[in-house]
């Protein structure tokens, strides 16, 4: 972490960048927050640890409008989102100085709480990223790093950065689950079971729009959900379908552009597994239109803005999907 701060200070001092986009200490040790740093003094508050899960790519949309370059720290999976935004002309590559930071999987405090650990005061991570020491009001507890990781890190896209100016730190392979296993499990259910499953999950939705606001693919300046002409816009839901409407539409809007960064599921205050929607689209796209990884590069056409003459017919797609 200190080397990141030192490098950021250097770049600020020699005028390469005008500001730094990173994370600073939050009110608890397990919730660092996204922050801009404009001076070397401010950088003393900079942190980078296992809890710095936020994808900073989306913040680069606004940063691209500011004067001068912004130094941004991107983890391997964040660089996919950055590339995708680059493809959509939402960020300016010239305005970004990207330091690709190492990542050994990001942590989820909810996973720790789910283990029955209550009254957390602080969490310490050992240097090797193997164990966590959770200090609680009931005494210290140790948790394996792997068990406290975010869902998305169990199906990590890889430790290679897709776009960067320089690299710092080491990444670790954290894959220990099948990416589409959950989707396949749902696909195998009967229609009534599927409906009941999604009903149960989505009825928790409070329409806080956090998933939309954090999503790097949701970068429209005017969003359909902000329109007062739209039934599902900013209000309480009257029935189960409205909840689904919102999530189907959102998933469809990002289909073919979603990099599966998992931010939606991470920020959902209700713990809805929103990645299940996006991953279903990714699975279908891979199956019908060939393997596609959004954000792998900044040039290839997206699958839904492209076609071939012998694409699968929609009715067959449902049967085969």
């Amino acid at each position: 972490m200190q080397e990141l701060i030192n490098r950021a200070k250097e770049l600020l001092a020699d005028g390469t960048v005008a500001r730094v986009l990173g994370w600073r200490e939050g009110d608890m040790s397990y919730n660092p927050e996204v922050a801009y740093f404009n001076s070397a003094e401010e950088l003393d508050k900079f942190v980078y640890n296992g809890f710095c899960a936020a994808n900073l790519s989306k913040y680069m949309i606004e940063a691209s409008k500011l004067e001068g370059k912004t130094l941004v720290f991107l983890k391997p999976c964040d660089t996919y989102s950055f590339n995708q935004l680059l493809k959509e002309h939402r960020v300016d590559r010239e305005k970004a100085y990207i330091i690709g930071v190492g990542c050994c999987g990001k942590l989820n405090v909810e996973a720790i709480k789910a283990m029955g650990i209550k009254g957390i005061q602080s969490i310490e991570i050992d240097d090797a990223c193997e164990t966590l020491t959770v200090k609680t009001i009931y005494g210290d507890k140790t948790v394996a790093y792997k068990d406290a990781m975010l869902e998305r890190c169990h199906v990590c896209k890889g430790k290679e950065h897709m776009v960067y100016d320089e690299l710092m730190g080491e990444s670790r392979d954290t894959v220990d689950a099948e990416r589409f296993a959950e989707v396949e499990k749902i696909e195998a259910m009967s229609p009534a079971e599927k409906f009941a499953f999604f009903q149960a999950e989505l009825s928790k939705c409070i329409r806080c729009n956090a998933c939309r606001n954090v999503c790097p693919a949701c970068s429209c300046r005017k969003c359909v959900f902000d329109s007062n002409k739209f039934d599902s816009a900013q209000k309480a839901n009257v029935d189960s379908f409205e909840e689904k409407m919102f999530h189907i539409i959102r998933a469809f809007h990002v289909a073919g552009r979603c990099t599966d960064c998992g931010e939606c599921s991470r920020v959902c205050p209700q713990g809805i597994p929103l990645h299940l929607f996006n991953r279903k689209f990714i699975k279908d796209i891979n199956k019908f239109y060939g393997e596609f990884k959004a954000g792998e590069d900044a040039e290839t056409k997206g699958p839904l803005t492209n076609f071939t003459f012998d694409d699968v017919e929609p009715c067959d797609a449902v049967e085969r999907g």
Binding site: F241, E242, F252, D311, E313, P314, C315, E319
Partner: protein
């Protein structure tokens, strides 16, 4: 519960102006019958059908939605139906994934010369929806039938 013999499904058919709408016209002028439950909405191209139109139709009480367009390769705008095909494949697959019975949605390519195909497709689709029954999963309780 006894089967409701009187169940009259509400079917929304999005027909493209250049092929399927003309196909429906031909079916009519050829005196080929298709159920009156099918309500046709004319769109410039099958590609005009926003996935939200389909969701909205279901929300407002449709029991089935069918999209008809020109045969692939015959689109008036050259490539519109190819894009529609990909979009609808994705949407239908998603609807099936969240537990909407497969069969409530359909895409069919009907040319201006295929009045017979239009009529048989609509007859088939209506009987399929009749067998599936009323759309209870997607309807909005506020929308009166």
């Amino acid at each position: 519960m006894p089967m409701n013999e009187e169940f009259k499904p509400k079917i929304v058919a999005f027909c493209c102006n250049w092929c399927s709408y003309a196909g429906a016209d031909l079916a009519g002028s050829s005196r080929l019958a298709y159920p009156a439950d099918v309500k046709i909405i004319r769109v410039p191209c099958s590609c005009r059908v926003n996935p939200m139109f389909i969701l909205r139709a279901f929300e407002k009480g449709a029991d089935g939605v069918i999209i008809c367009g020109c045969h692939p390769g015959d689109c008036h705008y050259s490539t519109g139906n190819y894009y529609a095909r990909r979009r609808m494949a994705m949407l239908f697959s998603m609807l099936e994934y969240i537990g909407i019975e497969n069969g409530r949605t359909r895409v069919e390519w009907v040319s201006a010369a295929e009045g017979v195909k239009f009529s048989t497709t609509m007859n088939e689709f209506v009987s399929k929806i009749q067998s599936l029954g009323k759309n209870v999963r997607l309807g909005d309780i506020r929308c009166k039938n």
